[in-house]
Amino acid sequence: MIRFSNIFLKFDGRQVLQNISMDVPAGQTQVILGGSGCGKTTTLRLILGLLHPESGSIVINGQEIVGLTERQMASIRAQMAMVFQGAALFDSLTVRENVGYRLWEEGALDNESIEQRVAESLRFVGLEDTLDKMPAELSGGMKKRVAIARALACKPKIILYDEPTAGLDPINTHLVSELVCRLHREEHVTQIVVTHDLECAYRIADRLIMIHRGEAIFDGSVDALQASDDPRIRTFLRPEEVLAEPGCFPHKDGGVRVVPPMSEKAEQAPA
């Protein structure tokens, strides 16, 4: 269970997150939606303790993590795994070493058990034949799937995904979305997925939260999101309808601003 209460965060004087609150019950998949740069990834980094909020509270499985030191965070992070946007595989290690990294670091299992767990995880993502490859030899989609296998190998209670389908072709997008669904169905893992891929979001989400300019503007089900008449949400979900006219751009408050064509501007300009 993850609980975010009234989180505020500032970077270089700019308010990045404002009063974000959300509850993610155990075993559920929560999707965080929003445009680029709205603060979605920042939210994941807060959960992982890579960033610290200015104010507010973050409780993970009953333990408050705000104010914990790096060393105290270690036991919290041991329950979690993250799939980074660019996969973030260690490029000096093979796929086998990447997937089994945490298990070898922890040293709690013998070599044979770790090898078995690595093979299982890679089989789950359909990449059992890449064991001895280096990350540089893999395609973008394969890297993402290896990153999911790495997250899976340590059997975490919580998995965080940062744009898992970004930059992937439709087949890999489908494969990755399906993996997230299977983890939910078969392993009952609590998952938080940051994305702006609506198709993926609708498919995997138990609940969605939408962030706009650092502020949570929606928290609810897929159906409730689609029925929302908030102009900011409508613009995000159906830009082809809202921004249909040429020269239309989304306004920061959710409306539409119209930029006149270049020639018109030139005529209006003083001599």
Partner: protein
């Protein structure tokens, strides 16, 4: 005017914050050497990369430094009829100053910039965050291991540079200046006292620390994608070279003050 003052103030604050962060990183990395896990394999791997990988450049640096020093020294000593004692000049200047400084500058170019670019790439591709997410302390795994390797290998490389430089000097002294082998080596060692050994090992220890920590700091504070990686690499090389030269001056001054 106010704007200029504010800018100067911000710049100075920025430098002060960077020095504070650097000092904190140094303490954390050094403290990491005294607690588990030890990462012995990684440390040996970095010793091999830093030490064995740099032998070729320090041998070249040493041999040519020794040869040119002998040639130039002989010209200066000739009016006084002191050419046969050129080995004394070569050994003293190589062991006390040139060996440690030149070896450190070469290592800064090869190793320091390498460390900076490697860590910078890891930083911009989120691999350092991934390490933290996997429960690993990146400072201990990435920096402490490199620091130990540098502190061990830079003095070793400096001793090699010193030895090769004296050998280079011998080649010129014997084959070009016709100085007797026994005479050359007798005066070469006569110029060195026990404190020169301390000099010769203390300086590379400090230089090894500078090269490694400046490279690591530049690497892990990288931002701005691939442009940032290039910037960090250059920054590491320039900063460590300057710090080597400046710290060499102050160490020499201090040693002289203490009467070493």
């Amino acid at each position: 005017m106010d704007l200029a003052v504010t800018r100067i103030e911000d710049t100075l604050k920025g430098y002060a914050a960077a020095v504070q962060d650097f000092a904190q990183l140094c303490v954390t990395a050094a403290a990491g050497a005294f607690r588990r896990p030890w990462y012995v394999q990684e440390t040996i791997y970095h010793m091999n990369r830093i030490g064995v990988g740099s032998i070729f450049i320090v041998v070249l640096t040493g041999i040519f430094t020794g040869m040119v020093l002998t040639l130039q020294g002989a010209i200066q000593l000739e009016p006084y009829g002191a050419v046969p004692y050129v080995s004394k000049l070569v050994s003293a200047s190589v062991v006390r100053e040139l060996g440690p400084v030149l070896a450190a500058l070469m290592i800064a170019g090869r190793v320091g910039s390498g460390i900076a670019s490697e860590l910078a790439t890891m930083q911009v591709t989120e691999q350092i965050d991934a390490l933290r997410a996997e429960g690993t302390d990146p400072i201990k795994k990435l920096i402490t291991t490199r620091l130990i390797a540098s502190l061990v290998m830079v003095p070793v490389l400096t001793v090699i540079t010193d030895g090769i430089a004296m050998m280079g000097g011998y080649l010129i002294a014997h084959f070009s200046l016709s100085i007797d082998t026994f005479f050359y080596w007798t005066w070469a060692f006569a110029a060195l006292g026990p404190m020169d050994l301390v000099y010769g090992l203390l300086k590379p220890l400090v230089f090894g620390f500078i090269v490694c920590m400046v490279g690591c700091y530049a690497g892990i504070t990288t931002s701005g994608g691939t442009v940032g990686v290039g910037h960090s690499t250059t920054h590491a090389m320039v900063t460590s070279s300057i710090l080597i030269l400046v710290s060499d001056f102050f160490m020499t001054k201090l040693f002289i003050y203490w009467g070493w």
